[in-house]
């Protein structure tokens, strides 16, 4: 089943003197995890802002769920959810109140259950009734992602979702993303963490100089480079493996 959910064609965007996007094209199919990579300032956030109707493109077109982001922004907003690059939570409300507010705004039927389920999923149950400005950065970020999942949107934009998260929380987010994609949610994420793209993404695109200079599955991208040399080396555990072995089992602080 090929079913294009995000369709971007010849997208261009400049800010005053800086040309950020100059002709970006890509498609994302239903249930796919699409990772957008690129150096700082490459235009990843700009692309996501255009797709989530926060910014108008200069030219080209972009549609989400079949609706044009410029002509039909309301319809687009009905099927998307955004976790921006910077955590956007209400510090004076508790974690639970933040989730309930979003659930009410999205017209979710069972506000309390939605909040409780998400709090549990992101290991925030014990912190649920604390004001968010007492949370650690990573906890606030987890709440931020949880807030984007309220109301099970069809398309999820995650702008560097795991930056600042500890390895366990990151694995938790990865698992959530996989589960959502398995359930048919389409996910566009950006990351600086290349392992994240390797682990998660069905398709990877690299944004550079305003254009996508490479796009494809991981194995397609690997074919662009000379075949890997075979070398025999002793396999040392990575620091991540050590960290997880030591703190393992203590999920949900």
């Amino acid at each position: 089943m090929t079913d294009t959910v995000i369709d971007v064609e010849a997208l261009c965007k400049s800010f005053k003197t800086t040309k950020v996007l100059s002709g970006v094209d890509f498609q994302v199919q239903r249930g796919e995890i699409f990772a957008l990579l690129g150096s700082n300032g490459a235009g990843k956030t700009t692309t996501i802002k255009i797709l989530s109707t926060l910014l108008q493109p200069d030219s080209g077109s972009a549609s989400v769920c079949g609706f044009d982001v410029v002509r039909d922004p309301k319809k687009v907003r009905e099927c998307i959810s955004l976790t921006g690059q910077f955590t956007a939570v209400d510090g004076l409300l508790t974690g639970r109140e933040n989730l309930r507010m979003i659930a009410r705004l999205r017209g979710v039927m069972d506000v309390n259950r939605t909040a409780d389920t998400l709090l549990a999923r992101f290991g925030l149950t014990t912190a649920a009734n604390r004001r968010v400005n007492t949370y650690s950065g990573g906890m606030a970020r987890r709440l931020d992602i949880a807030m984007s999942l309220v109301g099970t949107p069809a398309v999820l934009f995650l702008d560097e979702p795991t930056t600042g998260l500890d390895p366990e929380a990151r694995l938790e987010v990865w698992q959530t993303v996989r589960d959502l994609a398995g359930g048919g949610t389409t996910i566009l994420l950006t990351t600086q963490h290349l392992e994240e793209a390797e682990q998660l993404a069905d398709k990877i695109a690299i944004l550079h100089g305003g254009q996508l200079i490479a796009e494809g599955t991981l194995s397609e991208l690997k074919k662009l480079f000379p075949p890997a040399k075979v070398e025999y080396i002793e396999k040392q555990p990575s620091l991540e493996e050590i960290f997880l072995a030591i703190v393992g089992g203590k999920v949900g602080k």
């Binding site: 998307i80 959810s81 955590t87 939570v89 209400d90 004076l92 409300l93 705004l105």
Partner: protein, 250 residues
């Protein structure tokens, strides 16, 4: 309707903010109360207003000062929502866009009403004795609400454009000063001609005089229409520019 529902949800959210940081209400009330104490107990004896009870004369101007300083918090709350990305989150959601602003506007009306009530209670303790009936009280509430609404839309503009929280709040200082050059503290007749002309033609004088007449159950004359025209005029112009800024930035 969706706008009303969403505005209600966002208003409830801001109410949590207000009740969790009640200092914003107290701070807004304290300075006007201090000015009131100062004028009644220090300068009051030397001021001739033709009204025996100086608290009765003074209170309307004090309330306007409170509102003018209260709306700086409206600007700061808006600024903080822009800054933290809360606006961005709201704008990517399927909600009625204008509810994001209206939530703040209602909050402004409500929090200023709290400060004003607090000051009126203090005034009662200091000997404020109004003669107004129910209708006159309603008219007073209406005019003060309209004045708050007008200044709130003024506050939206720096709230959306400011680069720092201080910058968002600072615009209210000249507004706080306006009542001093009006009939709020002394009758304009005692002022030098140039100052008097300014005082008699700026909005605060007509609003203060109208509110005072209503509270003391005296005839308001044409002044009430001038006061209403000022409030509605400021509200309309500020609303127009605030919406322009809003559309430009978001």
């Amino acid at each position: 309707m969706k706008v009303i529902r969403d505005t209600g949800i966002l208003f409830t959210r801001s109410m949590y903010h207000i009740f969790r940081s009640p200092d914003t209400i107290l701070t807004v009330a304290i300075t006007p109360v201090a000015i009131m104490l100062l004028f009644v107990y220090v300068f009051g004896g030397a001021i001739q207003t033709g009204e025996g009870n100086y608290v009765n004369y003074l209170l309307p101007g004090i309330l306007l000062i409170a509102i003018a300083s209260g709306i700086s918090y409206t600007a700061v709350r808006l600024f903080s929502d822009v800054q933290t990305g809360f606006f961005q989150r709201m704008h990517s959601m399927p909600i009625a866009r204008s509810s994001v602003l209206w939530g703040h506007v209602l909050t402004s009306l409500f929090s200023n009403a709290l400060s004003v009530t607090l000051i009126v209670l203090v005034a009662f303790l200091m000997g404020f004795r109004p003669a107004a009936g129910v209708l006159q009280w309603l008219a007073v509430v209406g005019i003060l609400a309209l004045f708050t609404l007008a200044l709130t839309w003024v506050a939206v503009i720096p709230g959306l454009c400011a680069k720092t929280a201080e910058g968002a709040g600072v615009f209210s200082y000249p507004l706080i000063f306006l009542p001093f050059i009006s009939s709020a503290f002394v009758p304009t007749a005692s002022m030098p001609t140039a100052v008097r002309i300014f005082a008699e033609h700026q909005p605060v004088t007509s609003i203060v005089d109208t509110v005072r007449s209503l509270l003391l159950s005296q005839p308001v004359g044409n002044g009430i229409w001038v006061a209403l025209a000022w409030c509605l005029g400021i509200a309309a112009v500020a609303y127009f520019f605030a919406m322009r800024v809003y559309r430009r930035f978001f």
